[in-house]
């Protein structure tokens, strides 16, 4: 196989320094190939967002390396980092705080172009708006005039502006309604088909992740407990933590959910010595 586009090796992120520091990421290794979607799934505090931020240069890398197209990109000066900005973009979770409320959509979208010294201007902005399914006149408006789903489309357009080869998607749909969520995911899939961009998709929702990923890495307390093909992770999970996650996600189908719940309780009882028991079991 060709050399991976993005490669994370033994990544360690520690906060707090000398005394009483906290290791948030503890030896994570992960590859992302061109045009593929790899997902990081985990619960809050598992470190999934920190890995994304470390790749983007927004979190300190204490140990290990991150390579992009074979070049080391961790702990590099900001000026070097700006050069690779074209290729490595982000979509954040919260479309409310990721867009500057005092700028028009047009200037938000023109910002990456200006930063890269491109003077494509209005036409490119219109193209971007079109690519994410927003009307052309949206450019003159302010973010507050848009709903959550529309704002996330603006954020996606901004990420696309420089035609990157990797986009880190940090829970891009978790702040959205379910119908909007489905549409935004479909949009992301369409964009991937059209541009061949690779996604590092970060989410707490195994369902969302399963719908969009080629491979899934399951994170727990800063470590990858299981990494594999998306179908395999979902249908034949190897690690007990993955099984617990899968069992806990409810499905929108009452009879199946009842069966699943029974299965989950049975699993919990069986794993009881190894896993901390669900608290109600302790009392009942």
């Amino acid at each position: 196989m060709a050399e991976p586009l993005l490669s994370v090796t033994d990544l360690v992120v520690r906060y707090g320094g000398r005394r009483g520091g906290k290791t948030v990421i503890d030896g994570v290794s992960l590859d992302l190939n061109a045009g593929e979607t790899v997902s990081l799934v985990g619960e809050s505090g598992s470190g999934k967002t920190t890995i994304g931020r470390a790749i983007l240069g927004l979190a300190p890398v204490t140990g290990g390396t991150i390579q992009f197209r074979g070049q080391k990109i961790d702990n590099i000066p900001r000026s070097r980092r700006r050069q690779i900005a074209r290729d490595l973009q982000v979509i954040f979770q919260d479309p409310y705080s990721s867009l500057n409320p005092s700028m028009t959509v047009e200037s938000i979208l023109a910002e990456p172009l200006r930063a890269a010294g491109v003077t494509a201007g209005r036409d490119r902005v219109r193209e971007l708006l079109d690519a994410v399914g927003l009307p052309a006149d949206a450019g003159r408006r302010y973010p507050r005039e848009f709903s959550g789903g529309q704002r996330q489309r603006i954020a996606i357009a901004r990420a696309l502006a420089l035609e990157p080869s990797v986009i880190v998607c940090d829970e891009p749909t978790s702040a959205l309604d379910v119908t909007t969520q489905a549409r935004v995911l479909a949009l992301l899939a369409d964009i991937q088909k059209a541009t061949g961009v690779a996604y590092l998709f970060i989410s707490h929702d195994l369902g969302v992740v399963h719908a969009i990923s080629d491979r899934i890495a399951v994170l727990n307390s800063g470590q990858i407990v299981e990494l594999g093909d998306a179908r395999q992770i979902v249908s034949r999970p190897q690690h007990p933590y993955t099984r617990r996650l899968l069992m806990a996600a409810p499905v929108a189908d009452p009879p199946r959910q009842r069966a699943k719940r029974a299965q989950r309780l049975a699993l919990l009882q069986r794993d009881a010595p190894e896993e901390p028991a669900a608290p109600h079991d302790a009392v009942a």
Binding site: E43, V90, Q93, F146, G149, P250, V251
Partner: protein, 598 residues
């Protein structure tokens, strides 16, 4: 309590209609000019500036021209509009020439303070770390220096040099800008759009210029007005004490001259005092007006009290007339009839967001209320508890609890809330008070609701905490909210809701803030509690998986109406309304289908 953050706008997604808000951001000046105080202040300040610029041409006399025939001339005599002082100098002219010095001093103080305080605040706030520590230390030292004493000490060093003194005063007030700018920048730098700008490849200078400055602008403008007021006062004070250049006319010196001559000609004190006071007052009023204007956009519309009363009364009249009359079936514990809720869009207009909703919940039933943001589902839940936001108006309808209308009598609502109807909120952490221990909060709540003795309440709560799955209740009672996890906090709140033995629990997105594994446990707990105690529940959620897991019956809400209701199996197996089908399809697209290949 958190209200749906986009609760009030129709948040249809992208391709559909854009949220109509064509109103362009009003210009600061134009909205400022609606405030009469602001107009008066601006006019006065502008007048002083114009006079300062034009005084060589429009002042009736040169500043130091003495006219012995006019010594202590009273006002309105001999061409001396405000009279003349002990040396026969025209007071009006001296005040006009003095405004020059005031304006120069204002500009100096503001420039020095803004440059020093603003720039150091930007840098310290943006980079933090050591830079911030050093800058904050310097600022603290500067702030601890007594300003007027410094200026007097300075006089002995540099003599009567007002520009130098004002520049130094600028340095002394710079910390007020430093602290303000730094705190705003510290808040802004954590915004995701700053991170986004970094990722996009903007340099630090450009990030500060484009994103940070715009956030700092408004508070700095307001602060500037207040700093200018202080500058005018200090300048007048310094001159009054005689630390200024005696050959230069100034407001403070005119006041001082008049003061020395007060027994001969007391009226002369009035003019300089008036000019100085008005200037200070103008800056302060302008500052207040600016603050009001700049913050006005964050304030939502409120209804006139009279209009609110009319609306409330007509709703009440309908209730009395028995429009929503009902003899609910025996086992229905909560019956909502024709409930309408509105929010004001201006002083007189109310927009209805919940349009006459009916809902029945039976004893022991878990009822799911599903919908997307803005559908009104949380509004419905809050209204059964009487905890709608202050500006909300109930436009009609009734909420029958155990056959009695809660809306008809506020006392009845209070009696039911917390005792008969428990509440489990969405954000467990923000619903616990960080300054009290868990034990104190739970005991206080339970005693308020039931009047149990302290020890009885404690015993009951310990047993209940054990029941909701807390391993060591004694220890937990001594902890503060920040010491427990979100899942634990939600168990505590469920315990609190159940403690007074209510008949009904209203849970607003009780698991949305939790991890899936914790969600499964909390749902399990709610189900067990409902079964054990025959508790009815209304669970507000947007997650159809949660509904499928826990609910017996479901109501689907859209745009303030219930579009479909049914028992859970039927609704999921054969959704009748197109919107329900849409929700189900969307939901199933993004959910786990492990059964398909396993």
């Amino acid at each position: 309590m958190s209200i749906d953050q986009h609760g009030l706008d129709p948040s249809a997604d992208g391709t559909a209609a854009l949220v109509a808000e064509d109103r362009p951001p009003r210009s600061l000046l134009r909205s400022l000019l609606r405030n009469p105080f602001a107009i008066a202040s601006l006019a006065y300040i502008l007048l002083i500036v114009v006079v300062a610029i034009l005084c060589p041409w429009i002042a009736p006399f040169p500043p130091n021209k003495t006219d012995l025939s006019a010594v202590n001339a009273p006002p309105f005599t001999g061409g001396h509009l405000f009279g003349a002082d002990a040396s026969g100098r025209d007071i009006l002219s001296r005040l006009m020439w003095g405004s020059q010095q005031t304006i120069i001093a204002c500009v100096l103080v503001l420039t020095v303070a803004l440059i020093l305080g603003g720039i150091s605040g930007l840098i310290a706030g943006y980079y933090r770390g050591r830079t911030e520590a050093v800058a904050s230390f310097v600022s603290d030292v500067a702030q601890s220096l007594p300003g007027i004493v410094m200026l007097i000490a300075l006089y002995s060093l540099i003599g009567p040099n007002i520009p130098a003194a004002m520049a130094i005063f600028g340095v002394i007030v710079a910390p007020s800008f430093y602290r303000l700018v730094r705190s705003v920048v510290v808040a802004v730098r954590n915004e995701l759009y700053i991170d986004a700008a970094k990722v996009v490849g903007l340099s630090d200078a450009r990030i500060v210029g484009r994103h940070v400055l715009s956030a700092v602008r408004a508070p700095v403008i307001v602060q500037s007005a207040f700093v200018l007021a202080t500058a005018v006062a200090i300048l007048a004070g310094v001159d009054f004490l005689g630390l200024g250049d005696p050959s230069q006319p100034s407001w403070g010196r005119v006041l001082s001259d008049a003061f020395n001559n007060i027994y001969t000609n007391p009226a002369n004190v009035i003019w300089p005092s008036l000019v100085i006071t008005l200037m200070i007052l103008s800056f302060i009023l302008l500052g207040n007006a600016l603050r009001d204007t700049l913050q006005a956009s964050f304030r939502s519309a409120t209804l006139r009290p009279g209009r609110r009363r009319t609306l409330a009364r007509s709703a009440q009249d309908e209730r009395v007339a028995g429009v929503n009359d009902l003899t609910p079936p025996q086992d229905v514990i909560l019956a909502i009839r024709g409930l309408k809720i509105g929010y004001p869009t201006s002083n007189d207009e109310v927009r209805e967001v919940v349009h006459g909703v009916d809902l029945d919940v039976r004893k022991g039933e878990i009822h799911g209320l599903v919908g997307e943001s803005g559908s009104g589902k949380s509004q419905l839940a809050f209204s059964t508890l009487g905890i709608l936001p202050r500006e909300a108006v109930i436009l009609g309808g009734s909420i029958f609890f155990e056959g009695k209308d809660l809306l008809a009598d506020p006392a009845r609502m209070r009696a039911a809330r917390g005792r008969k109807i428990g509440y489990v909120p969405q954000e467990p952490m923000s619903n616990l008070d960080p300054s009290f221990t868990i034990g104190a909060q739970l005991t206080h709540g339970l005693r308020a609701a039931t009047g149990l003795s302290k020890s009885d309440a404690r015993t009951k709560l310990l047993a209940l905490l054990a029941r909701v799955g807390i391993a060591d209740p004694e220890r937990l009672m001594r902890l503060y909210p920040h010491e427990i996890s979100g899942g634990m906090a939600q168990r505590v709140l469920i315990c609190g809701a159940v403690a007074a033995d209510p008949e009904l629990i209203v849970a607003d997105e009780p698991t949305t803030a939790l991890d899936v594994t914790v969600q499964a446990e909390v749902l399990e707990l709610l189900r067990e509690l409902s079964r054990e105690r025959g508790l009815a529940m209304v669970i507000v959620t947007h997650n159809l998986g949660v509904v499928a897991d826990i609910c017996d019956t479901v109501s689907v809400m859209k745009d303030g109406r219930i579009v479909e209701r049914n028992d859970v199996d039927t609704l999921f197996a054969a959704p009748a309304d197109p919107y329900t089908r849409d929700l189900l399809v969307s939901s199933r697209q993004v959910e786990l289908m492990e059964a398909e290949d396993g």
